[in-house]
């Protein structure tokens, strides 16, 4: 092991990777090649692409702020950012869990195919854009154009949603507890049935968030834009 990688007494169980001495490449190589175990990423300093491309069930604790694309394309790993995260947090996540204790910038969970993204604070614009199966739970608010073209998966917002929520949405489900500034094109409020309350209860529990599912409203696609029609021209 090179300088900056220090294993604790439990061997692989809690390896510290210090980004004041390691490059992002070295830290990522260590994380990407590990088959399991727990890691601490020290002094992340807002660096980009931290803990991205992980494919094994490792657990990574990032102790500070992360830059763009933190935990990008995650598979199976559990990554927690103890701080804020920049643009594209857990973009295209496939599986596993990515958590942020603070806020996340734009495009959090963008295009995610699976797994769980939990943001304790607020998420900025385009949270869950083009999501394809990921579950995203946001403790605070989400910015404009969230769930734009969202295809599948669930977005849960405990706070408010900015304008144009769910614009051009496909089959993703959106649950918002607070106010929605404005729904996007083809996104409508939908009935909250028992199955949705169960789903929401489970999502909140997995995210570790305290909230009553009954306080949420559900939004989804009106499916008016699924086929080109002249009468919908005004909506394009």
């Amino acid at each position: 092991m090179s300088d900056g990688i220090t294993a604790t007494a439990e061997a692989q169980a809690n390896t510290a990777l210090d980004l004041t001495t390691l490059s992002v490449r070295e830290a990522n190589r260590a994380l990407q090649s590990a088959k399991g175990g727990a890691f601490r990423l020290l002094n992340p300093g807002g660096k980009h692409a931290l803990a991205c491309g992980l494919s094994q069930p490792v657990s990574v604790s990032i102790e500070g702020h992360a830059g763009y694309y933190c935990a990008g394309m995650n598979q199976r790993a559990e990554v927690t950012v103890h701080g804020n995260a920049g643009t594209g947090l857990a973009e295209n996540i496939m599986s596993g869990t990515v958590r942020v204790t603070g806020d996340a910038s734009q495009s959090a969970g963008a295009t995610g195919h699976g797994g769980l993204v939990v943001i304790a604070g607020n998420a900025s614009a385009r949270c869950g854009i083009s999501m394809k199966g990921v579950d995203i739970v946001v403790g605070g608010d989400v910015g404009h154009m969230s769930a734009f073209m969202a295809q599948a998966g669930n977005l849960v917002v405990l706070g408010d949603a900015g304008p144009d929520l769910g614009d051009s949405i496909y089959e993703a489900r959106l649950f918002v507890r607070g106010a929605v500034a404005r729904l996007g094109t083809d996104c409508v409020e939908k009935e909250m049935r028992a199955e949705h309350l169960d789903l929401l209860r489970d999502l909140l529990a997995r995210a570790g968030m305290q909230a009553d599912p009954a306080e949420f409203r559900r939004y989804g696609s009106a499916r008016r834009l699924y086929h080109f029609k002249v009468d919908n021209a005004g909506a394009y």
């Binding site: 992002v24 490449r25 990522n28 190589r29 990407q32 980009h48 692409a49 991205c52 491309g53 494919s55 830059g67 763009y68 694309y69 990008g72 394309m73 598979q75 643009t87 594209g88 973009e91 295209n92 496939m94 734009q106 495009s107 963008a110 295009t111 195919h113 385009r126 854009i129 083009s130 394809k132 199966g133 734009f148 073209m149 295809q151 599948a152 496909y170 089959e171 699924y226 086929h227 080109f228 002249v230 009468d231 021209a233």
Partner: protein, 452 residues
């Protein structure tokens, strides 16, 4: 009132000669039919293929060849290299191609599985690469292509880190020549069960993909995005950036700044699987006009031949390839021509083209999925018409012919490698092409815009 006033206009009753009916040059038959079509349906026209109008193109350039002042190489005897290495700027394992002609990105979805397989087989035989497309990588495609470039598109349909790590190169698609500024399109007829699942979409819907990437905007973000892709793939494979030709100088410069190993520049003649006709015919610039500014950007940054320039859009034969290389490109890619080599628009299906209201050579309703040749379709019965082995063989033959033609021209110009072709080997036939390609009008030393 005399007799004549009651006769219909243009039909004088006194035997005077009639004038020939004149159709308007601007309101021509096609234009009129398009107005009637739009009026009847309320929808814009969508089609496949590239720009069909006449545009300044490689045909407007000629090679000078060798004579007293320069001597040629012996055909078939003296070596004329055609190999090209793509992506050595940052990647540990750049691509080594035997011919500078690559197969452009065309998705499974827009093309049948058989067509994708045939492209892989043909490219393998020629020692070149193929490219995935909107919709992700199929296992068959990976299996049948020795060198496979994986596209990262705005839609991110089917984007999967496992596939990313299986790719031999990654192409970040910013735009396409047929529609710079537009997203993908795949209509319901082609969203069958497998395509729908790969794209996480409901079956049978009219899909309109995003035109902007979901997690970056602008060159500074793109640089960070490329950094992430390199981290995920361990800095192993080259990363290309594909742009539609519109502002080639700046787009190429920014692609270099963003860290690209190669830039793919697609002119407005470039084919598409499905795009609005108005987009295909009116947005972007011809590839002829785009190569010199792109090369200039690379030269200004000291990156010509370091960052490879791959150009496309209407490449049909070895002469087109030679001209693109002489203007400074490192390689070309082909879409439409490769499909034709497989069997697209073949007159053998004329009866069926007629039934579809078209004719062989004009068939461009690739978005409808009813391709008689079984190429741009997801219909199992039609797709079964294409034998991937035989079609792959045809593509390999065609690539071999283009490469030989390219060498023939290079030798005639006295070059021992096709990359030694240069603008000085060319002249232009028209003032427009002279200005666009930056080479003199034949018989003069006049380059409009440069030498007065």
């Amino acid at each position: 009132m005399n007799d004549q006033s009651n006769a219909p206009r243009g039909e004088p009753g006194n035997g005077a000669p009639r004038t020939t009916p004149v159709k308007s040059a601007i309101f021509d038959d096609y234009t009129l039919s398009e107005i009637r079509r739009a009026a009847a349906t309320g929808l814009y026209d969508i089609r496949g293929g590239g720009a069909k109008r006449a545009l300044p193109h490689f045909d407007d350039l000629l090679f000078l060849g060798a004579s007293v002042s320069r001597y040629p190489l012996e055909g078939y005897r003296e070596a004329c290299g055609t190999d090209v290495t793509i992506g050595a700027r940052h990647a540990e394992t750049p691509l080594h191609l035997k011919t500078p002609i690559t197969i452009a990105g065309m998705s499974f979805g827009s093309l049948s599985a058989q067509a994708k397989e045939a492209l892989g087989r043909g490219a393998n035989a020629a020692g070149t690469s193929t490219t995935t497309g909107d919709g992700g990588m199929t296992p068959e495609e990976r299996e049948h292509s020795n060198l496979l470039v994986y596209q990262l598109l705005p839609s991110r349909y089917g984007m999967n880190p496992d596939d990313l790590r299986k790719a031999d190169a990654i192409e970040v698609v910013v735009g396409q020549g047929a529609k710079p500024g537009g997203g993908g399109m795949l209509l319901g007829q082609k969203i069958g069960a497998r395509v729908a699942e790969m794209r996480t979409l409901p079956e049978g819907i009219d899909q309109r993909s995003a035109c902007r990437h979901p997690d970056w905007t602008g060159p500074d973000d793109l640089e960070i995005k490329i950094g992430e892709l390199r981290e995920i793939t361990g800095w192993r494979v080259p990363i290309y950036i594909k742009v539609g030709a519109s502002r080639p100088y700046y787009d190429v410069a920014l692609a270099v700044k963003a860290g690209a190993d190669a830039v793919v520049l697609d002119g407005m003649q470039g084919g598409t699987a499905a795009t609005q006709t108005v987009f295909i015919e009116h947005v972007g610039i011809p590839i002829l006009a785009a190569i010199r500014p792109a090369v200039q950007a690379l030269k200004d940054l000291g990156m010509h031949r370091q960052v490879q320039l791959i150009v496309s859009g209407g490449i049909r034969n070895g002469a087109d390839v030679a001209k693109a290389l002489a203007l400074g490109a490192d390689a070309v890619s082909i879409g439409t021509a490769a499909l034709v080599a497989l069997g697209d628009n073949d007159p053998r299906w004329e009866d069926e083209y007629r039934r579809l209201g078209t004719t062989a050579g004009a068939y461009d309703d690739w978005h409808e999925g009813a391709d008689p040749a079984g190429i741009t379709t997801q219909d199992p019965a039609l797709a079964a018409r294409l034998d991937p082995v035989a079609a792959g063989r045809r593509l390999a033959n065609y690539l071999a012919v283009m490469t030989l033609e390219l060498q023939t021209i290079a030798r005639a110009c006295g070059k021992s490698h096709v990359h030694n072709l240069e603008p000085e080997d060319l002249v232009a036939l028209t003032v427009e092409s002279a200005a666009m390609a930056g080479v003199p009008l034949a018989g003069t030393d006049w380059i409009p815009g440069r030498t007065g």
